[in-house]
C-alpha cells in the first residue's frame, strides 16, 4: 500500500468516525424534537371556533348600562389529557345597551392585570399600571400603559339569555389578536 493510499484511507476513517458518531450523538435529541414542538404545531393547526358560553339573563343587567362583573364558565375545557366540565375560565364586564350587550374581558390589554370598575368616576381602571378606560372601553389615560382599548368579545342575546364568545388576546400590542 503506498503512502497516498494509506493517507486517503486514514482520512476516510476520520470522516466516517466523525459522521457516525455525530449521527449517534444527535439522535436522542432528534427523537424528541417533534414531541417538543407539538404545542407550536397544535396552535398553528387548531384555531377552531371559540365556543359560546352562557353568562346570565338580560334582565339581570342594569338597564342604565352600568357594568356588572360575571364569571365565565365554559361547559367543556380540555387541558392536555384531562377533560373538565363547567370550568370558570375568566371573567367579563357586561353592559346593557337596550336589547344588546357589550362584553369586556376583565384582563387589561397591557399585561393582564384584572381591571376594576370605579363607581365614583364611572369608568374602568387597572390598579397595576394605572390604565383607565371609558365605559365603551376607550383609553382615557394620556400616555396610557395599555396600547389598545379594553378587549370586547362577540355577544348575543337569545331567549333572554346573554351568551358570549370568551377569548383572550395577545397582551401589550396595539392590534387585538386572539391567543391560540
Amino acid at each position: 500500500m503506498d503512502e497516498e493510499e494509506e493517507s486517503g484511507r486514514r482520512k476516510f476513517i476520520r470522516v466516517a468516525t466523525v459522521g457516525v458518531s455525530a449521527a449517534c450523538g444527535i439522535f436522542p435529541l432528534a427523537a424528541g424534537i417533534p414531541a417538543l414542538l407539538d404545542p407550536v404545531k397544535k396552535s398553528a393547526g387548531e384555531a377552531g371556533a371559540v365556543p359560546w358560553s352562557r353568562i346570565t339573563s338580560l334582565a339581570s343587567l342594569p338597564e342604565d348600562g352600568s357594568p356588572a362583573k360575571f364569571e365565565v364558565v365554559q361547559e367543556r375545557v380540555v387541558d392536555a389529557w384531562t377533560t373538565y366540565k363547567d370550568v370558570p375560565v375568566g371573567a367579563v364586564y357586561l353592559s346593557r345597551r337596550k336589547e344588546e350587550v357589550v362584553a369586556f374581558n376583565l384582563k387589561c390589554p397591557h399585561l393582564g392585570c384584572a381591571i376594576d370598575y370605579r363607581k365614583q368616576s364611572n369608568d374602568y381602571f387597572c390598579p397595576c399600571h394605572n390604565s383607565s378606560f371609558a365605559l365603551d372601553g376607550a383609553i382615557t389615560t394620556e400616555n396610557s400603559p395599555s396600547p389598545r382599548p379594553m378587549d370586547t368579545m362577540e355577544t348575543k342575546v337569545e331567549k333572554g339569555q346573554v351568551w358570549i364568545r370568551f377569548q383572550h388576546y395577545r397582551p401589550n400590542i396595539a392590534e387585538k389578536i386572539p391567543l391560540s
Binding site: A35, D38, W81
Partner: protein, 585 residues
C-alpha cells in the same frame, strides 16, 4: 476561529484534555470486542436525553400518570416514537450489559489491578436494573402495576428492615400517589445521578489501567482515535438502528389498560426479569429476594481473587456461563408455560380488550379529572362482561366462554346466551337435538320435560320446515338492537302460516297450548309475551320463579332481584349486555 480556540485553550487547556481522551493507546489494535462499554455509555446517554424529554410530558400521580402517558402516546406529535426509543433502548441496555460483562469475564479483565473497576461495574449493573424496575411502573398500566407490586413485596423479605424498606419505597402500605412520586424521583433523579457518578469513576479507572488486552494481539498497537472510535460508533449505530426498528415495528412502547387494584391481571415482569419470576415458582421468596442476590454479591466480590489462578479464572467463566444458561432456560420455560396456559392467554386478551375499550371511550368523551380508570369501571359494556362472568357464567356460557374470554372449569349447565332471543338462537332452540344438548337445556331438568319429549321430539318434517318462521316471529318480540323489526305485512304473512284452517299445523306447533303470548295467563309454561325484550329479560333475571315464568318448575336459576343477589342496575346492565349483539360466528 483559531483565535477563539487558542483563547479557550489558554484558559481551559482543552486541547491537552482532548488529546488525552482521544490518543489513548490500544495495544494490539482496535477490536470489536471492546465496543460494549462505549455502546452502554451511548445507550445511557440516549436514556438521559430521551428521559429528560419524556419528563416534559409525564405527570406522576395515580390520576394522571397513565393519562399523561396516553396523551404522549396518542395525542402528541411523535410522542409514540420518543417513548418507544426510551423503552426499547432500556431493553437494549440490558442485552449490552450482559455482553459487556461476559467480555470482561472471558477476557479476564476483572482481575488485578482492575478488581475495583469490576465491582463498580457490578454496582452499575444493579443501578441499571433498578432503573428498569422503577421505569416499568411509571406508565401506571395494569402490567407495570401488578408486576411491580410483586417486586416490592419481595423487598419485605429482607430480614428485620424489609417491611420498612418496602414502606419507604412504596410510600405507604398501598400503591398510590406516593408510590409514583417516589418511583419517579428514583427513576429520573436518584438512580441516573448515581449512574452518572459511577460512569465517571468507571471510565476513570478504565483509563488508569488501560484496556485489558486479550492475547494473542491481532495487529500492531493503535490509538483510540479514530480506529477504535469508528468501531464503537458503528456498534452504537447498530444498536440505534435495532432500537428504531423495534420502535417502528411495534408502533412504540405498549400501554395497557389503566392500573386498577380491583381488576386482576397476571403479573409478569419485563422479559429480562422473567428468569427470576420463574425461579420463584420453585424456591421460597426469601431465596429470590435475599439469598440469591447475597450469594451473587459475594461471588462478585470474591471473583477477582478466585480468578487469580488459571483454574480459578475458568471457574469464574464457567460460573457466569452457567448463570446465563440457567437464566435463558428459566426464561424460555416461563414463556412456554405462559403460552400453553389458556387462562393466561385469555387474561392477556382481556387486557387488550380493556385497553382498546378505554382508548375508544377516551377518544369520544375525553378523560375526566378522576382518571381513565373510572371510565372502564363505569363502562356498562365492561361491567356487563364482568357481571356475567361473576354471576352467570358458572352455569351459562357466552360464545362458549365466561363473557370475558376465559374458559370456565364447571360443566355448562344452562343455555349459551350469546345472541339470546335472536332468530338464529331461537331456531336452534326449537330443534330437539340442540334443545337437549349442553348448549341449551341439556344440563337442566327441562331436558326431560314436556317441551323436549312431547313437542320438539315429535315434529314432522313439514312442521320442522316452519321453525325458521316461528323463530322469526318470536324473535321479533325481543326487539334486539341488531335485528331489523318485522313490518306489518311480514308479520301478517308469518302469522297466517300458523292460523290457517288446516289443523295439522296447529296441533304440532301450537306453542300457545302451553305458553301465553299476548293472552290471559293460563298456560303453565313460561309466558312468551315480549320474549327476550328488555322488560322480559330484566324481569326474568330478577325472578324466574314468578308465575309468568317458571313458577315452581324453576330448576336452578337464582332469583337475582327477589333475593337481592344483584341490584336493579346490575340486572339491567346484564340484560342490556346480553341483548346488545349477535353471537360470534
Amino acid at each position: 476561529m483559531k483565535v477563539v480556540f487558542d483563547w479557550l485553550d489558554d484558559r481551559s487547556g482543552y486541547r491537552n484534555l482532548l488529546h488525552e481522551v482521544l490518543y489513548e493507546k490500544v495495544p494490539g489494535g482496535a477490536r470489536w470486542r471492546y465496543v460494549w462499554g462505549s455502546c452502554l455509555t451511548f445507550a445511557f446517554f440516549t436514556q438521559v436525553v430521551t428521559g429528560t424529554l419524556l419528563w416534559m410530558f409525564y405527570s406522576p400521580s395515580a390520576q394522571t400518570a397513565w393519562e399523561s402517558v396516553y396523551f404522549l402516546q396518542y395525542q402528541v406529535w411523535g410522542g409514540w416514537f420518543l417513548r418507544g426509543v426510551h423503552h426499547y433502548m432500556a431493553q437494549a441496555m440490558i442485552v449490552l450489559l450482559v455482553l459487556h460483562l461476559m467480555q470482561v469475564v472471558i477476557d479476564g479483565a476483572y482481575r488485578a489491578p482492575r478488581e475495583l473497576n469490576f465491582w463498580f461495574g457490578a454496582l452499575m449493573m444493579g443501578v441499571t436494573l433498578a432503573l428498569s424496575l422503577t421505569g416499568y411502573l411509571l406508565p401506571w398500566d395494569q402490567k407495570g402495576y401488578w408486576a411491580t407490586a410483586v417486586a416490592t413485596n419481595l423487598m419485605a423479605e429482607v430480614p428485620l428492615i424489609g417491611p420498612a424498606i418496602q414502606k419507604i419505597v412504596v410510600g405507604g402500605v398501598e400503591y398510590g400517589h406516593h408510590t409514583l412520586t417516589r418511583f419517579f424521583a428514583l427513576h429520573a433523579g436518584v438512580l441516573p445521578a448515581m449512574l452518572i457518578g459511577l460512569v465517571v469513576v468507571h471510565i476513570y479507572l478504565f483509563r488508569k489501567h488501560g484496556i485489558h488486552v486479550k492475547e494473542p494481539r491481532p495487529k500492531k498497537d493503535s490509538y483510540f482515535w479514530p480506529d477504535q472510535i469508528l468501531k464503537d460508533a458503528i456498534a452504537c449505530m447498530a444498536v440505534l438502528l435495532a432500537v428504531v426498528g423495534l420502535t417502528i415495528y411495534f408502533n412504540g412502547a405498549p400501554l395497557g389498560p389503566p392500573a386498577d387494584p380491583a381488576n386482576e391481571f397476571p403479573a409478569r415482569p419485563e422479559w429480562y426479569f422473567l428468569f427470576l419470576f420463574q425461579l420463584l415458582k420453585y424456591v421460597p421468596a426469601f431465596w429470590g429476594a435475599v439469598i440469591i442476590p447475597a450469594f451473587l454479591a459475594l461471588w462478585i466480590l470474591l471473583q477477582p481473587f478466585i480468578g487469580s489462578s488459571r483454574p480459578g479464572h475458568q471457574l469464574n467463566v464457567g460460573f457466569w456461563w452457567t448463570l446465563i444458561a440457567g437464566s435463558v432456560a428459566l426464561t424460555l420455560l416461563a414463556f412456554s408455560e405462559d403460552r400453553t396456559n389458556i387462562r393466561h392467554g385469555a387474561a392477556l386478551e382481556e387486557a387488550n380488550w380493556q385497553a382498546d375499550r378505554v382508548f375508544s371511550i377516551v377518544e369520544h368523551q375525553g378523560i375526566p379529572p378522576a382518571g381513565a380508570v373510572t371510565l372502564l369501571r363505569e363502562d356498562r359494556e365492561n361491567r356487563g362482561r364482568i357481571l356475567f362472568a361473576a354471576h352467570c357464567a358458572s352455569c351459562h356460557r357466552y360464545n362458549g366462554h365466561d363473557g370475558r374470554g376465559y374458559p370456565v372449569d364447571d360443566a355448562q349447565s344452562a343455555p349459551e346466551l350469546a345472541g339470546f332471543a335472536s332468530q338464529e338462537w331461537i331456531e336452534k332452540l326449537l330443534v330437539h337435538q340442540h334443545y337437549i344438548s349442553e348448549e341449551y337445556f341439556g344440563g337442566t331438568a327441562f331436558k326431560d320435560g314436556t317441551m323436549a319429549k312431547k313437542v320438539l321430539a315429535k315434529y314432522t318434517p313439514e312442521e320442522s320446515a316452519l321453525l325458521p318462521d316461528i323463530a322469526r316471529l318470536l324473535s321479533d318480540m325481543a326487539e334486539l338492537p341488531y335485528q331489523d323489526p318485522l313490518s306489518e305485512d311480514e308479520r301478517d304473512e308469518l302469522l297466517a302460516l300458523f292460523y290457517n284452517d288446516e289443523e295439522d299445523f296447529q296441533d304440532g306447533l301450537a306453542c300457545i297450548d302451553c305458553h301465553d303470548i299476548d293472552s290471559e295467563g293460563d298456560g303453565y309454561a313460561p309466558d312468551l309475551t315480549g320474549y327476550g325484550s328488555d322488560e322480559w329479560t330484566v324481569a326474568f333475571i330478577k325472578n324466574p320463579e314468578e308465575e309468568r315464568f317458571y313458577g315452581d318448575e324453576n330448576d336452578r336459576m337464582p332469583c337475582y332481584g327477589r333475593d337481592e343477589k344483584l341490584t336493579a342496575e346490575e340486572i339491567q346492565i346484564i340484560s342490556d349486555w346480553i341483548r346488545s349483539r349477535p353471537a360470534e360466528e
